[in-house]
């Protein structure tokens, strides 16, 4: 299982990567804006993408739309401070698989990751 973490904040990328690696995920790539995310999913087959919303160059929501426009069905979970209902609906309509609002606990991240992966027949066994 290879996962792409997309966030312009180095801190948030490290928090998410630490959470995923703590749960046993060994292959995690990172991108720091929406355009890098589109380029990465075009070049590499990922099992999951964790995507921030507010980023320079290309917003996460626009990156999600671009990924879907390419016909790519990789599951994408938005991980963002954008908490308004309108934002959540916009993301789901654009093809997001789930939505996590910052701040979060590691348990919430793994719960939603496994919920999304479970739909595609995969999952990550959370280490005790």
């Amino acid at each position: 299982m290879r996962i792409l973490v997309v966030d312009d904040s180095t801190t948030m990328r490290r928090i998410l990567i630490n959470t995923l690696k703590g749960a046993g995920v060994t292959e995690v790539d990172e991108a720091c804006d929406g355009q890098q995310a589109v380029d990465a999913v075009t070049a590499t087959q990922y099992g999951l993408v964790l995507m921030d919303w507010n980023m320079p160059n290309l917003l996460g929501i626009e990156a999600l739309k671009a990924i879907r426009a390419l016909g790519n069905t990789v599951p994408v979970i938005m991980v963002t401070t954008e908490a308004e209902k309108g934002r959540v609906l916009e993301a789901l309509k654009a093809g997001a698989s789930n939505y996590i609002i910052k701040p979060f606990t590691p348990a919430v991240i793994m719960e939603k990751v496994n919920a999304v992966l479970g739909k595609s027949g995969a999952s990550i066994a959370v280490k005790a």
């Binding site: 904040s9 801190t11 928090i15 963002t80 401070t81 908490a83 308004e84 910052k102 701040p103 606990t105």
Partner: protein, 164 residues
């Protein structure tokens, strides 16, 4: 600017500390301010809001608090003000402002927008606000050290003269 606008920001600070920093933050007395003299060797994170909620939010951390916060967020040893610390406080202001704007904004069709955060670090500077702006300053105490949150915002409702 109404004092009650402050509550969503205070709640966001509480949420951030209990969820991602593993400790509580306690608010002190709110005061109005037109200028701040930051503590020596401090880190200031600034973010703007535009749209239905517009204004500016800052968090002012003494150096030791900023270092402790970054250490707790990243789970690694940090002994000085470095890029990790700047990135950490930048993400903190992003989370605090994002959570607050959602609460202030309700379920409006057009959510407010956040700017990308800016961080200033130094020992000899002042933060001056435009004379017409009203800033509320909220001191906090936490296990990781003291810090201040300063907020100056208005909402669509207030601008249209509707009580919110």
């Amino acid at each position: 600017m109404k004092v009650e606008y402050i509550n969503p920001f205070v709640e966001s600070v509480y949420d951030l500390f209990t969820t991602m920093l593993g400790c509580e933050a306690k608010r002190g007395d709110i005061s109005m301010t037109r200028k701040n003299d930051p503590p020596s060797q401090s880190v200031v994170a600034i973010i703007g809001l535009s749209g239905s909620v517009c204004g500016c939010v800052t968090m002012v951390f003494p150096a030791r608090t900023a270092i402790h916060v970054a250490h707790r967020l990243l789970g690694c040893q940090i002994d000085e003000l470095n890029q990790d610390v700047m990135d950490a406080v930048s993400e903190m202001i992003n989370i605090v402002a994002g959570g607050a704007k959602a609460k202030l904004n309700g379920d409006q069709d057009k959510p407010a927008n956040l700017s990308l955060p800016t961080v200033i670090q130094g020992a000899d500077y002042k933060i001056q606000h435009p004379s017409w702006s009203v800033w509320l300053d909220i001191p906090f105490e936490s296990q990781l050290g003291p810090f201040n949150l300063c907020v100056s915002i208005e909402t669509d409702h207030a601008r249209k003269g509707i009580a919110s």
